[in-house]
């Protein structure tokens, strides 16, 4: 484990100690992964012969800035019969605007395939 790694909040992981937690100085964002770290892990995955795992890490990097509720909400929107094709495209646009291009692309693909396969909301 690299001790000079930073959490999502930017706090150095070396500053996260039991004592600091006890004092109430640490939040979950301090022990959440940083998008730069995920980008690094994507490079590692590519170097180890798994571009799909790398792509997953890059999509994940985009999701780090979304709240837990947003992430769970988007997951639900992709479940079968939950969204119309237009709903999915709207989410894609929102994600695109937030710089989450890879996830936006995933939603655009879903809009297309769901419409063709009857997986959209009735």
């Amino acid at each position: 484990m690299t001790e000079n790694q930073k959490g999502f909040s930017g706090k150095q992981v070396s500053e996260v100690t039991v004592e600091a937690i006890r004092r109430g100085d640490i939040t979950l964002d301090d022990v959440r992964i940083h998008p730069d770290t995920l980008a690094h892990q994507a490079d590692v995955a590519t170097a180890n012969g798994n571009p799909q795992l790398a792509a997953n890490f890059l999509r994940a990097a985009e999701l780090t800035s979304l709240s837990d509720e947003m992430v769970l909400g988007y997951y639900d929107a992709l479940r079968p019969g939950r969204s119309t094709a237009q709903d999915l495209l709207n989410i894609a646009n929102t994600l695109q605007a937030q710089g989450a291009e890879r996830n936006a692309e995933l939603f655009r693909q879903a809009a297309d395939v769901y419409a063709r396969r009857g997986l959209t909301a009735k």
């Binding site: 690299t2 790694q5 937690i21 022990v31 995920l38 180890n48 790398a54 997953n56 999701l63």
Partner: protein, 744 residues
Amino acid sequence: MTTKEPIGRFRFMNEQRVNLDGFATPAPELGLVAFNGPNDPAPSLVITDGRITELDGRTESEFDSIDSFIAIHGIDLEVASEAMAIDSLDFARRLVDPNISRLDIVRLASGMTPAKLAEVLSLLNAAELVIAMTKMRARRTPSNQAHVTNRSDDPLLLAADAATAAAFGFRELETTVPVAADAPSNAVAVSIGAAVGSPGVLVQCSVEESAELALGMRGLVSYAETVSLYGTEQIFIDGDDTPWSKAFLTSAYASRGIKMRVTSGGGSEALMGGAQKCSMFYLEARCVALARAIGSQGVQNGGIDSAAVAGAVPGGVRSLMAENVMVMLRNLEACTGNDALMSESDVRRTSRTHPIFIGGSDFINSGFGSIQRYDNMFGPSQWNSEDIDDFLAMQRDWGVDGGLRTADEEEVARLRRRATDAVTAVYSWLGLGDFSAAWADEAVDAAGSKDITSGDLMLPLTAARTIMDTNVTMLDVITALAENGFDLEAQRCLDMLKARVAGDYLQTSAIFDEGMNVLSLVTDPNVYSGPGTGYQMTPERQQQVDTIRQQRSVADLLSEQQSFVNKNISELGIAEVSYDPRDVVIGVSPATGKDIWVTLSGLSVADAIGELLAGLEEEGCVGRIVRINDTLDLGMIGLTAARLSGSGVSVGLQAKGTALIHRRDLAPLANLELYSVAPTITRDLYRMMGINAGRHAKGATPEPVRNPYSDEAIEARYHTKVVSLVAIERMCVNSQHPQTLVVT
């Protein structure tokens, strides 16, 4: 039609446990076929303008959502043409060729379609699958995963059992709930117990997809596994997901730095009536291709909940293992099933697991039931706490690292106490609930939840609600641990949170060793190129595998014998030849009255001699005890004794209990009667031998006694003891003349 009672041989065979299992005539139209279903396509791939336009016999417009996702994301187009052109038999042979590297194979496999890999792997026989698994798994060091659950979601028992599982060597612990709403409490209790047991043990709580992710986001669990994939679109949708929702979920876990793998397994589609006339193995090939396509680092497969479906058809068990190897070909972590119990027969379930155990996988069991069968809320596992000693013995027998180690009883007792103390303190400090001392005492001692009578069945639910309502996170648990003096456990829980920041354990096949080092495809890659390569146990690990708590040395046996020492056998002096026709010598072995005091049957040597003397007396003979010092061979002991005997008849007795009747005119290795199976010789039998020796001495006709028969594995039980006892006898051999002994 009249029903006829089968003959006895078949009535007897029908009663055997294997006949409780269901065996199905293959029904390809229902998907009840392991390989080569009627709708399995021939492998095909067409790439047009850098896009896949045909996949395994279907054109783009015919793609279902699974095909589409694989076509867009799952096939490496740069190697696809080269890979698909390789003859399947040629590629199958490369899997077992030590001169062709794993890297070459995974590179090509990434360009192969599901049907292509299904065709390749269906060509490997069982032995070849073992070699392929040895060579192809991602992580060099094998490992294992445990289920930790109980019927009442008892937090104290969960924590104690989690600590116990960690002590036995499991590196991942999976819990689940009989009551869905209890999940947060289970996650907390198992995480605390795991931290008590060992650093770096990963914990998951298997519940509905969203709920499981929410637990992960709070830091209450450190990995996820029950993200299910299916091989047909219909069943996928029935599971309330699509390839896209699963891909998003996969990224959601990674976005919080949480390890995850997906779950699939042959037979699930047939079980749910949606196999579409495809074989189990082909549908699983689609799942595995999809797992790679969505960016999951690993797959739990090998039947899983439907393992018994595959087990019911010809070749089904082989197909389960082939599923695991397919995951390895896709360069993913393989968590190789052997979880749901697929047979009532101990022979069949061992047979199903054994090749994988030998080949070695990232996790041999994707849930070894570390608790008793009845407490396993996933249903009984293929291996359970009933079998931990069997598994440890199998590791030792084959010199195989199956991920487990022997745990010391005192240490486990200490860990269980500490785990219940820690949970008691944390739950109290966070206002989740209070445990009585009696409950804790029972949990420490319990072999299962049936041993606990003092529990409060409502506590887990109340605790779980409070965790959710007051937004308890792992940070609060760490604070509570630290505030109550559990500094070590607080640090271990924090280390698991910090691991998420680093993200190294998101890579393929990652576990932590006890020094919190990540072992994965990246840091501990499996490189196998024939004998002497690949995973080799360190001397320390070899020692763990070789040393089980049941093993005994000669020194152990000697000190056990010493604990039975009594002073009632004493020496009277040199034994002389007798001319009294009533004289029958009982010749005893060199260690008698020195180092061996108890026979293998548990009877004391003195008592055995006492019965022989009493039997002789019943026949009007006089027994005389003489220790033969210069041989440990029972025939020679008997013959030497017979030559001293006034009647010419003797009894020979080894201190371990083996006995015979001898006569001075016989050859050394001959005898009149022999009790060869010492562990089964009772007091009555020694008495009977005394009587018969007396009758031989008088020239009367004895009633020969048959050796008692047993169907138990007497040799397995006693042969190691025999080796030690014989060694002790040999140490006592000397050139002294025979000595008269007396038993008082």
